[in-house]
Symmetry: C2
Subunit: 405 residues, 2 copies
């Protein structure tokens, strides 16, 4: 326990006075303060690159998922790794979500500390320090549920829960796509029974996330793959149920499969995330009613960019590159310009090449882009502009931005 | 000027009480505070993903560039878009840099407001709002120099400088790679002369950045391309000089060409950035003495990751995906494991596939990774851990993180 001493030593010696000097003057809090002065402006008067969400469209998406799932018995437990914004998580809860999912412990902490009371962390905390922190968080917030996927981790959770003097809520994450989770079948059943028997853990059910299937092209193709991939999970669920385990949570799915998960016996809630915003990746996959474009939800998230150079015909340069849009594929769509190919490969610049444009673009003209993949783009910004009728209505701070720990 | 009213209305109506409620409780300042308690710890005890810089190696790189350029007449003006950290910029100035370069206005502001007095902004500010803000910044800080690359922008700068009651320092950015800059030759000369004649602007020289050539494989190949691409720039420089213009700045180049730029007549300073950290992209290109690996500088920047799943042979899952490492290529190198192929394509997870490993990896084991491309990776984190002899010596806040405006 030498940290306090080291920290005192650090502060005392002033060996890093430079650092101390750099801390207070400029902070993201200041950025938000500056952004607040943008409230009321037209979005076309914003400094770029600017991350914007059209509030009316987002609200439409927020309600659409509940409408679509009405009467199916499937609840909504949105994954907030997409937006990392407690204010939006609160809107999701108000719209009827049974709680939210988080990917990481630091993200969970931000949500719980900012008024979101039911948080299911789908990632597993491995290090002793993280396990202890998670159990301290559970002690403070009764609505925090933690996933586990291996026996040693279950034992570590038990030890930390006991040390914290609590009975902690735990779900077992089951492997679907060779990423996280315990192997389905006997290993998953054994782990669930192990957790169930531990005196300081309460087994609440299972998770299984099939990330690989979310972007499969074509609704029927996607549905067939989703059902096939989930067969071992459903069979494991049946075994657990037969063994008398508490199966109150059977969670998984996403924006690409939200209207298929009702076909899984016992399934309780879907972890939609991108449905609020949509992005180029999801638009491409096609939906049940429209095989060409996935239009169950409306694209609401955009980045505003400014053209800064037009030296060459068929070529425009913008101020929005990798640091504003990521390198995800497909490339950003320029709204109103289907003939534009946007490359965000330069850190600071976007490059558009085209043969046909709807107008002649001048330096200083602005463009609005649909982002390639919403999650990592949002993770680049400190806040989103909340736009209604073309004007800034609110600032949405992305408080868990960068919280990947 | 309706912003203040709108803001008051916003605060009065409380329509967005949610936002106000979300502002104060959790802020990145808190993150830094938590990180300070890590000082003195072994890097292997840090929470992951963790962005680390080995201070001894970084200091070696910091000095190596000055050593290499001694006697060449080429000064160092590091580009801080790479690290976005005023504390590191200060180290660069202390080591002998003539100033720093910035890409964006918001980045420039952070540097100037945090004690970096000579800042050359290589990007052009296009919108009227940005031009006015830039001139206000120049009024406050005499060491701020602004690039321009088109006549309308030069007129806008003149108007804003006049309105601010200053004479502003301006350089002309010349196009090398069809990205930013005015076309070399007559258009560049005309723009320089136009700036030079403007009563509230002071022409200080030129910039030309050849980003495309920095990562060309093989030293001689790279050198040949760099010299060829720069021919129109050098010829433009000669014309400007002959026209009697003030050519005190002729800036460009980067980590891939720092030891070639002395071959350009009149060249004054090199905009190295990645030299401090290195990354997978630069290691691959080869150097003058070592064609296989570019070892003029030592990799100092790493991300620490934790293995969280080892269900399958030849496959390991880590806690560090796109949000910790970006999608840049080549993929991250795992230090000590040349046989590991690291895929950072999942937002939250890294996937390693391998045939040979130096040991059997358990869940909870840590790995240290060299990042694909330093700039966008650093832009994901609020701070770097400064490591010396394997222990955390300092926290380096990345104050301009996300400042892409």
């Amino acid at each position: 326990m030498s940290q306090p001493l080291d920290r005192r030593k650090f502060l005392r010696t002033g060996a890093l006075a430079g650092v101390a000097g750099f801390l207070p003057r400029s902070s993201p809090a200041l950025t938000l303060d500056v952004a607040l002065s943008d409230i009321g402006k037209s979005k076309w008067d914003l400094d770029t690159p600017a991350l914007c969400v059209d509030l009316e469209k987002m609200e439409r998406n927020l309600n659409a998922v509940h409408e679509a799932l009405k009467g199916t018995g499937v609840a909504v437990r949105p994954h907030v790794k997409t937006h990392k914004c407690p204010a939006i998580a609160k809107m999701q809860v108000t719209a009827g979500a049974v709680g939210v999912c988080t990917a990481k412990l630091s993200e969970s902490e931000i949500m719980l500390n900012n008024g979101i009371s039911n948080v299911l962390m789908t990632g597993v905390n491995i290090s002793k320090a993280k396990v202890q922190k998670a159990m301290a968080l559970r002690k403070k917030y009764r609505g925090f549920i933690q996933a586990t996927d291996n026996p040693q981790n279950a034992r570590d959770l038990q030890d930390a829960a006991k040390a914290a003097g609590i009975t902690a809520d735990v779900v077992v994450d089951i492997d679907v796509m060779k990423r996280s989770g315990v192997i389905a079948g006997a290993p998953a059943l054994a782990l669930a029974q192990m957790v169930d028997k531990m005196p300081n853990l309460k087994f609440r059910g299972i998770l299984a996330y099939d990330g690989g299937v979310q972007h499969v092209m074509g609704f029927q193709n996607r549905r067939a793959k989703a059902l096939k991939n989930f067969e071992p999970i459903v069979s494991t669920y049946e075994k657990m149920k037969a063994a008398g385990l508490n199966m109150e949570i059977f969670s998984g799915g996403g924006t690409g499969t939200y209207n298929m998960v009702k076909e899984f016996p016992g399934f309780t809630d879907v972890q939609v995330g991108s449905y609020l915003f949509m992005d180029c990746q999801y638009i491409e996959i096609g939906g049940e009613k429209n095989e060409k474009a996935y239009d169950d939800f409306t694209p609401s998230l955009t980045v505003l960019a400014t053209i800064i150079n037009n030296n060459y015909p068929g070529r425009l340069i913008t101020d929005s590159g990798t640091k504003a849009l990521t390198l995800n594929r497909p490339s950003p769509f320029v709204i109103g310009e289907p003939g534009f190919a946007y490359a965000a490969g330069s850190d600071e610049y976007g490059t558009i090449t085209f043969e046909n444009a709807s107008k002649v673009y001048k330096v200083g003209d602005m463009l609005e882009l649909i982002v390639p993949h919403c999650d990592p783009v949002i993770n680049l910004y400190d806040f989103m502009y909340g736009i209604r009728n073309g004007k800034v209505e609110t600032i949405l701070p992305i408080l868990a931005r960068g919280k990947s720990q």
